[in-house]
């Protein structure tokens, strides 16, 4: 199993990833997080609320997927006005990335899925 710090470091190097986090799936608390790309000192740190709410949302998506008899969700992407939030489940943790709107989402998805596979 790769160390969580390695997972975060490799995901944060993917072009377009603004922040990468490993988050507790049940409690939504950050286990490891990268710095926010372009973070201005004094600006609001969005990682904690994003981590908590993304993990919460993923748990609901999990239930929806289960209710539809689709099995475990492989990848979740929330597209917003100014970017994306991507989430992948990996056992007791979820990998969460905040991604710029112009990022190569295919690459982000592939790297997140691979990281999750390594951690299962």
């Amino acid at each position: 199993m790769r160390a969580v710090s390695q997972v975060v470091a490799s995901l944060s190097r993917v072009p377009g990833v603004v922040a990468a986090m490993v988050v507790g799936a049940s409690d939504g608390l950050i286990i490891e997080a990268s710095q926010i790309v372009g973070y201005a000192p004094g600006a609001t740190d969005t990682r904690r609320p994003t981590a908590a709410l993304a993990a919460y949302l993923y748990s609901k998506v999990n239930r929806a997927s289960d209710a539809a008899r689709l099995g475990t969700p492989a990848f979740m992407r929330l597209e917003a006005e100014k970017g994306h939030i991507c989430v992948v489940g990996a056992s007791d943790v979820v990998l969460v990335t905040i991604v710029a709107p112009d990022a190569n989402l295919g690459r982000v998805r592939l790297d997140m899925m691979n990281a999750a596979k390594d951690n299962r």
Binding site: G24, S26, D27, G28, R48, A51, L53, A55, Y56
Partner: protein
């Protein structure tokens, strides 16, 4: 979900928002002295009375424990049970300190409760009436204070 009942009207809106956003099953806002300010999820004054007394005692113990172990009082506590979890934290508004204790289950998470609790704190800070900017100190009459606050929440016992 029922609306919170409050002894001080200004806490009703932030307490309702916290309850809804964090998907809490029940919760009590109180002064560190044990006097209840608002509650939701309880229909029995005796339950709230027990929770206020216990929370007040736990806060006093944890505060001292934090001082001894970490040099400063613990800010919040969390207990994860098999089905339900308890979140307990201090909230400051001006010079006034409050305690909050909330119960949640798998419909929520500690991270989510923490996020909305910090918003709740900001709301308390913003809405605190000017005449309460000075800290409410315990009068020394713990039981009397507790009973008066419970009367405000549930109505006088035996007069319903």
């Amino acid at each position: 979900m029922t609306n919170p009942t409050v002894a001080e009207a200004w806490v009703a809106a932030p307490l309702k928002r916290l309850m809804e956003d964090a998907r809490l099953i029940s919760g009590v806002l109180l002064y560190p002295s044990g006097r209840a300010v608002g509650q939701f999820g309880f229909s029995n004054a005796a339950d709230v009375m027990s929770i206020c007394a216990l929370t007040s005692a736990i806060n006093a113990s944890a505060r001292e424990l934090g001082r001894q172990l970490d040099g400063k009082p613990f800010y919040e506590m969390h207990h994860a049970g098999a089905e339900r979890q308890v979140f307990m934290a201090r909230a400051a508004a001006g010079a006034q300190e409050f305690l909050f204790v909330g119960v949640f289950d798998r419909e929520s998470s500690l991270g989510v409760v923490e996020i909305y609790f910090s918003e709740f704190q900001k709301a308390l800070e913003k809405l605190l009436p000017e005449n309460q900017a000075v800290q409410v100190r315990p009068s020394g009459d713990f039981e009397g204070e507790l009973n008066r606050s419970l009367d405000a929440l549930f109505g006088p016992i035996g007069k319903k």
